[in-house]
Assembly symmetry: D4
Homo-oligomer: 149 residues x 8
């Protein structure tokens, strides 16, 4: 499956504004509203566009503490731990990466009290977890949305 | 500035589908299209909604290598390094966090050759950077869009 | 609950000298002895003042070795370990913090022999502790009392 | 210089309540108010009692973020860095300890914004500092006042 | 057992081209084909030459991901883990070295999917393994064949 | 460029014995000596076969100490350091990998005296190198030749 | 128990040459052979002199590999591991120190084969040991005998 | 140069008691005083016996703090730092080893004040030193004299 230059330009428009109308995208690209709609539907169908979203300011909705957790667990428990973490409402993302740490987990909570609760009640009580290292976000320099890490 | 329950429900709809029409949101919430539009405009105006976006499958558009970099630099160069990194097209996000590492940087590139190029030509040649540690994504268990980390 | 500027000035007086009389505080603030006493009683009642204390020179009372311990334990044992440590006479403080270490513990003992005893008999024999890292104080540059860390 | 058992009992009373009156201490120890006052004055004079203080709940006065910093600097700058840090209002204590880190610094600030400011504007701009590692307090299990660490 | 200068020159020829004919080696060394053959047979017999091999470009045969794994295991399981790893087709080498890591393992696989599979299905499911740290090759500056590391 | 199944079988024969005659390979594969020779020449020409080599027992030729070095250098010096190391006779391989270390270097020397010389005279005197970490091989469990790491 | 200046001078003589005769020491200090003998006997009796020894060149008696091991074990096994290690012929010293490692062990063996044997057969088979980190001596700059570390 | 079994037995006697008379050694080995003396003189001459010494209890002569320092320096300064450290009276030994640390230094001082002085005035003021990590001895399980590490 290949995407062409026109597809890329449509993706650029939608990355700029996910609610841009097909008419407006068409005007920019000198194409009809219908052909834009068809291409967008095709991009959704073959999975290039995974979803349309909205970028919410986490602090303004009360999630003021952003944290990274490096989670170590017993090797045989890795998959079940990863799945349990993924179901947790406070967990924004959960990755397995090369390097010394088993799971990299991004967490959004309202305050330190919730962070301590998450650490002590969610993580330390989860079967198979052996250690946890956490870091708290001090400053965002860039935070691009649109492409999954 | 406060958001109420109706605002939260609208944000949930838009997180589910950033292109959901105001009519459809209104139907779910038993509100008129106009009041939804006004609330959305208000949420955009006060910064709760930072933007509407689109989640693109990075592998299907050819970005097959996702990497974390922990970047150390001379303390006096931190801000200029952070700003230079933020301008780089391959950099998806750039954070300062508590813990031993100065900058956490997420990078999306097409292959190892680009990753080596990014490391050797972009990072190691940037004035003020003293060391770099990189990790490559092996598996995504959860990757939530909509809320900034 | 809020404290005002007069409260802050009273706290400054007490931080300077915890035994300063209400009369003397009143003179400094141009307030009556009674109103100072009432405000202090209120600050104690609502928990702003946790207690009045005394700063003792630990070396002059024979506590010549100050040490930090980073204590790791099995996740499920964290709370019981923290509580047991907190009951120990040699433990001055016990904190849970972000980062790689589970518990940060400050210990005051009389000499190396007591330190070795504390390590081998108190810590290593405590159920659930898996490893211990210790550092010994060489020099105090600043040691503020009055505010809890 | 030696302290005797009666001195120790007086110190225990004052550690319990730094404002306990000499009359009340005397009653507990079966000694006159005068002899208590003389002994306390002697303990202050020879430095056993460094000061009388007050333990303030840092959160209730708005210091909600407690952090440890491990500060590394150029060896020749160690003393000047330690002295500069000690002058800083946000720094509660500053220690040199055995182990890999040059300076252990305890910091109390109001929020993350101040913490980021302290890190980027106070620390990273201080001549001679080469790296900084920070940890944030999640939970206090024990925090004894009265004895300096 | 000793090797002489002529042996060393023969080894140099074979390191240059493992298929160099005995006649050609003889010409270079001013020796007969027969004496070269006898010396080579002797070098093979006493183990100096372990085998004749071929250096294959791993990327051109589809092995595009080269990785180092540092594998930790329960001490009593070290030998069985090392032997199991050595039987694995993806494992190019497996060493025990001084330093903090128990086993250094070099792995060649076709892509990230295989690497994740190797990590999660081969390593983490192997009895006795407690943790795994992986690094991926970005660039070869030198890769000498002929001498075993 | 693609290789087929017959090519792979020829590579397997040569990996087993790099001096296997084309006649013997042909017998195993039911192909003529000439077609084997042509295919081998083609595999050499397009780079799949990089060279024919010989695996020499490094201890029997007097290289009794095998070591890994993790070499850190100033970022701007990385390429020149890597090239200088690659020219060194004692260096068997030199890689750049993901993770915390800049260069992974494999070294073969005759004894500790040479290793100390290599460390102090070759490495520490090389412009741009900032630190060096070394590990010595204790035991080989598997050491596959034929495929470059 | 106190030692005086004359004692110190005698210790200096014996540190210089442990077999120096009492007559020769007496000449240096302007004291009789008898008074030197009495003081030496007293120093031995009260434990200041633990023993007279001989410094042997370990390489010339075939101990060519000197190594440090950092040994971690289950906390409850620390004392039994330390005692078992102390009984081992290859172990020259075994210390418990502050810092991250439980036991620092100095080992003298004849060659790498013995070192690997010591690691795999003595250490990894000892009940309670969880991990081992080893370093090999490259060069002695100073090695003072006479005072125990 | 070789030593035989009789030499080894003599070394064992001297390791047991460095002042054992040649007569007593001769009795144990069924050899004459003269032949023992000649062999000992030969062992001294060819360097097997480096010196006769005395093992002094460091605490009883006032050296109560034993410490290990891991000293890092600029690579070009390594040799001069090692030589300067070796001249220092408080330094008992100074080694270069494999692993991450450049120099391992053993130090004996009288108390913490001297240790802090040694760290801040001797080490941190020495040109070329970049960082220092220290550990303090808690307990000796074994401390063999006679063989150099």
């Amino acid at each position: 499956m290949k995407i062409d230059d026109t597809d890329r330009k449509i993706l650029d428009c939608l990355a700029e504004d996910g609610r841009m109308s097909y008419v407006d995208i068409g005007k920019r690209l000198n194409l009809s509203r219908v052909s834009i709609r068809e291409r967008v539907q095709q991009l959704v169908k073959n999975g290039v566009i995974e979803k349309f979203g909205v970028v919410i300011n986490s602090e303004l909705v009360g999630k003021t503490v952003s944290a990274f957790f490096e989670v170590e667990c017993e090797p045989s428990a890795l998959l079940s731990v990863a799945r349990n973490l993924s179901k947790n409402q406070s967990v924004a993302s959960c990755y397995q990466m090369t390097g010394p740490s088993m799971l990299h987990v991004h967490v959004l909570v309202e305050d330190f009290h919730q962070l301590e609760n998450f650490t002590n009640k969610e993580l330390y009580s989860m079967k198979g977890i052996t250690s946890v290292n956490s870091h708290i976000l001090l400053r965002r320099f860039k935070s691009r949305s649109g492409l999954k890490l």
